[in-house]
Amino acid sequence: MTEASHGSGRSTLRRAAPLVAGGACVALLATLPLLNIRVPGILPTATYQPGTLALLSLAMIFAGLALSYNMLLGTAGMLSFGHALYFGAGAYGLGIVLENLSVPLWPGILIALVGGLVIALVTGAVSIRVTGIPFAMVTLAFAQGGSVLVRRNAAVTGGDEGLSLNTDHVPDFFLGVINTRNMYWLTLAILVFVYLVALWIDRSRLGHLSRASRENDLRLQVLGLRPAYAKLITFAAAGLCASLMGVVYVLLQSGTTPTAVSADLTITILVMVVLGGVGFRWGAIVGGVLYTLLDQRLTVLAGSDVIASLPDVLRVPLSQPLFILGVLFILVVMFLPGGIAGTVDAWWRRRRGRARATSLRALDAESAGAPDIAQEARP
């Protein structure tokens, strides 16, 4: 074999490796409902039983949500504080449609998704006119508006009580505890789809454009490219994926509550992505899954005897899962800003002699150069 084909053989292998690994993971996950695996301490039941399958489905929903957020923050460098709006649009969208229109499930889902996409396009078009912290504030404002709308229109949305799913037109295939594994498989399929969207966004010219626009919008415009267009597409895609996860969520939970549009949820997503590693697709997935499992386990742990027997000073904070998560988040941001994926990636690259700034630090450098509210750019 010649040198060249040796080299290209190697690189093809290297490029194929993640694909193969990913495919293997999906295959493994798909077969879980058929296997009897127990992971005590993490999974509540064996893997073929509905308890675990429901938890894993929820974890995958949040993984998909984190993935969609990573498209914004990791790929395009947009720090949005209103991402929950699109998730809620999907969840409430489907819930409202099924409640008030007699359409079968699949058209209902389509309507909800179109609604979510429209909302994302409109809010996105308005928001991308600013960047940095102002962008964060506008997105926060829109999400707040959505939250207020949901809470106030109790007749349609169920208000603070939440909306329960009208299952008249939902095929039996998905209903009932027995069929949790069908929901599981649906969720898995959707997650794979969202992952592919994220992959496409990253790898495509769109992704390159988004990344380049982080550095210098003006330069791009001078070159005749339109970074705003790329940003909007990315924003809309992220919003659509979030709506998709919202649709699956309302199906899985048979209902939804106003937390689905709350700032709290966006914060939660942010925590997932940062924990997992900003800018890494697999980091977002890890973050989503980890958060869901941690949240569940910590809640159980919080109620356990071990904690109850601790002195108050320790027991009170440790019995609050969000406290532990908040502290963990702070520690990660301060000492491991790359998150899990970033840290692993940095270690891996150090072994191969290459260095790379973590995505968060890159964001800092960019925001240092970018014009700010009420400030001129400082050299």
């Binding site: 550095e215 960019e366 150069g369 050299p379």
Partner: protein
């Protein structure tokens, strides 16, 4: 006060490299500034003159050795470097527009007994405008204020960046006089594109091109060498700035 200088330089810079947002702007610059007089830093637009000064102060990320009177200062934070006796007159003056003249000066004062007499003597106009908002001052007055800020303390060196930029000839003359007076007290590293001013003020000259030092020597000798000027500084150097064409090419 003891100088601590080994070879008559107040500031030595070795292998200074600096970057802004990942872009290299200063590449391996080494220079030394004598403990008296004015040393000019020359070069075309964008070669890294301003960045060199900012790098010395630590305002941009940089590497290399910087010694003030023999002691290393490159490991210190900007405010500590300045506190060691490095005064700074930035390009574009950067006075605080929403503070008064008096407040701008008060902010700069570091010592128990600031050099108020010198400042009052050199800049009587500023004394009159003590309570005026710095943002409403003319360009020339702002420049005077910027220089005054650096002179209010007993610094060991002043880093002065294009003090005559955009000013009318009369004001350029005033600034030149002020700098010459200042140089009696403290050595100055002066970035300047106005060659006439350089001729009047500078002892030594350092020429920078492409982020590197390409020539050092006596200023007057350099300025007399037309071929050298054209080669290192380019076409704009033809017109001895001082007859109205302030804007550099």
């Amino acid at each position: 006060m003891s100088d601590g200088t080994t070879d008559g330089s107040i500031l030595t810079v070795q292998n200074l490299s600096a970057s802004i947002n990942g872009q290299q702007v200063v590449e391996d610059v080494s220079l030394s500034v004598p403990a008296t007089g004015i040393t000019a830093v020359l070069g075309r637009n964008g070669v890294g003159k301003t960045s060199t000064l900012r790098a010395i102060l630590g305002l941009i990320s940089r590497s290399g050795e910087i010694r003030l009177a023999g002691e290393r200062i490159d490991g210190l934070r900007t405010h500590r470097i300045v506190q060691s006796g490095v005064g700074y007159v930035p390009e574009d003056r950067e006075v605080f527009a929403r503070l008064t003249v008096a407040e701008n000066l008060a902010l700069a004062e570091r010592q128990r007994e600031p050099a108020r007499e010198l400042v009052n003597e050199l800049f009587p106009d500023l004394v009159q405008r003590r309570n005026q908002m710095a943002g409403t001052l003319s360009g020339g007055q702002q420049q005077m204020l910027s220089v005054a800020r650096a002179l209010i303390n007993d610094n060991r060196i002043l880093l002065v960046d294009e003090p005559t930029k955009g000013l009318a000839p009369k004001i350029v003359a005033d600034v030149t006089i002020a700098l010459r007076r200042a140089a009696e007290k403290v050595p100055i590293l002066l970035v300047e594109q106005n060659l006439e001013v350089v001729r009047q003020l500078a002892g030594d000259a350092i020429v920078i091109s492409g982020g590197r030092v390409v020539h050092t020597g006596r200023a007057v000798e350099f300025l007399d060498d037309e071929a050298l000027i054209k080669r290192l500084l380019g076409v704009y150097a033809e017109a001895p700035a001082g007859n109205g064409s302030e804007e550099s090419a």
